[in-house]
Amino acid sequence: MASTPGPDPLEDSSEDERPKWDNKLQYFLSCVGFAVGLGNIWRFPYLCQSHGGGAFLIPYLIALAFEGIPLFHLELAIGQRLRRGSIGVWKAISPYLSGVGLGCFTVSFLISLYYNTVLTWVLWYFLNSFQHPLPWSTCPLNLNQTGFVEECQGSSSVSYFWYRQTLNITIDIDYSGSIQWRLLVCLAACWAILYLCVIRGIESTGKVIYFTALFPYVVLTIFLIRGLTLPGATEGLIYLFTPNMQTLQSPRVWLDAATQIFFSLSLAFGGHIALASYNPPRNDCEKDAVTIALVNSMTSLYASIAVFSVLGFKAANDYGRCLDRNILSITNEFEFPDQSISRDEYPDVLTHLNATQPERLAGLHLESCRLQDFLDKSASGTGLAFIVFTEAILHMPGAPMWAVLFFAMLFTLGLSSMFGNIESVITPLLDMGILPKWVPKEVLTGTVCLVCFLVATCFTLQSGNYWLEVFDKYAASLNLIIFAFFEVIGVVYVYGMERFCDDIEWMTGRRPGFYWRVTWKVISPLLLLTFFVAYIVFLVWTTLSYKAWNPQYKQFPSRQEKSYPGWVQAICALLSFLPALLVPGVALAQLPIWRRQKQENVQQNIRLKLQVSEVSDSEVR
């Protein structure tokens, strides 16, 4: 390939010391592990089910094809080409764009904080799963042992275990409460485990990733097989995938599809740039991008089948128990023999009684049992994992084993995503040379983990869950869209489309086709802009409120809707906009620095030319 000139020597003399992946599989699994995370398990199935089942796949696939895969390919290519973390890459493209890198770095830091707290909760549940019966299966007894604790009686043992025995949540975000020592030690353990895995950067994560990336698939398969054999699974799956084309008319569905693709692939975090920077320069990043994105989407679908077969089982179970409760009421009231009414005979008995003794029947206040209502009670996020799914597991034979498997799977899923997050924090720090060369890498990773741990202790307060929701909703969303937009614009228009295509041709051996050019140049930026505007509109439309757990609330166990106090709203605004403001901020700050550096560069060039001429003279002599 002597005809095409190699890439410009942007690498410095430490090029040979840059760590490398042991083999292609490690890199592939790391990217897959980073992309496939908790959202694939507890966000996608919920979106699929609430936005018209199979019909949701249409906006999802469109978003994948025109937004997800192009952006993903762009990140991998630029990271592999420039061989730097996020801050270095943007500094190399243009000093004015280094704010993008700094912003990605900041957002990754914020996300690492709260993402590991979710892993803390998963670890806590995992540790509590090694007993039979499971601790969330029964309510604790009240003081005189005649009944259960009132809060538990009013909601359910599962909700009580989550809100009271795990989080010990306060009724309002204003009341911080005390630090929960149980969560604090679990948080310390989580950060210690993460430190153990990232202690030497990709040398150590590369070894662990074989387990953390593949284990979730094994467990998902086990759950799929188990789930499909449970009664009620087919109802759940039919409910999930029945397409309802009407929902496609709502713009909310399209926005959710775009959001899901964006965050599911972990775009604009800087993590993929960091992971790709350790690649050998000649690596087919185009094939990697398409494969990993497709693997991510396939995993979402696979997980939603497993999740919804279990949820279908839970709904069928709840429906059966609802019927049983009604049958018991009727049997007790009308003194029918025990077990004389089966679930199938119940409707006939009901109509007969309605005809003969309607007043007595009305006095019983029977619940209306409809399977559809129970299937509708879906949840996403922590509600799915810690309340709905844990309750479903209680009714499966061999419950502790399923609980252990489920939480181990969640933990490894989250851990592999955390590797990517932490890499996007550590790689820029290493590239910038924050610490002197003689300081070993273990110290840098240790310091980062320690700092994150200390800051994240605020999430172990009693109001920690409310704060986590604030971070989850506001820290990432808007900023990442802005950074992604600047990424595309930066690479296509500042770095230059032709130059970028040349680099890709050098790296992969073929020039990017029409699809890539059109999406990078026109479609993706437009989509991102629309996405950004739609998100702003949506933010403005909805009031800043949250749902609080208040046992004294009149409609307990429903959560009480409260609006954020002023200072919390200020923090929400800060989180949403401050990282994004780094882009123009740093660009402005760069102006005098860049001018001075340009002068220095010119002087250095003159000095080099003089040295060269000296050496050549001495050689001649």
């Binding site: 890439p7 806590w124 509590n128 090694f130 029964t138 005649t146 029918f336 023999p337 273990e442």
Partner: protein, 222 residues
Amino acid sequence: MLWLLFFLVTAIHGELCQPDAENAFKVRLSIRTALGDKAYAWDTNEEYLFKAMVAFSMRKVPNRETTEISHVLLCNVTQRVSFWFVVTDPTKTYTLPADEIQSAIRMNRNRINNAFSLNDQTLEFLKIPSTLAPPTDPSVPVWIIIFGVVFCIVIVAITLLVLSGIWQRRRKNKGPSEVDDTEDKSENTITIENGIPCDPFDTKGWHINDTFMPEDERLTPL
């Protein structure tokens, strides 16, 4: 005369034991739920056993040691199986107070349940709350044990990795310093040509000029 007495007695019995009568308790059994196929039929013999158990419980109360089976009256037995019962005094004129019966039943609930192979949920005494058994808590919560194991493994692994990193670095530092010694030795001999010491290369300070890096090194082999 005898007939009159008989009617009187049954009338009084009837009045003493009635649904919602004073000091009367309703009992509900769910035998089929508890035992499934091995369920027994509820007949007068089972009722006799029940009366015996109630009398037994009452005899354990101080001042009530003379309670007999005939003092326990059952009425309104339904197909469900549910019925009402009262406990009368030896003269069978009035019923014993409800709280005495309640505390007696609560004390001996386990024995009564076992006599019928039922439990608190399938043999219900309405209006008598049962004392729930506290869950058996191990002395050390299970999660702390598992946590201790996991944490110890992690700390040991971190220590090992850090130590091995330090050891590796020390080995690397020793290696290049040995190579440097031999180079210095060779530099001690200065070649002299025409009386002028030759020092063609400035070995003390290497500068790598990137512009002159050969083409081959930039292209990694396929």
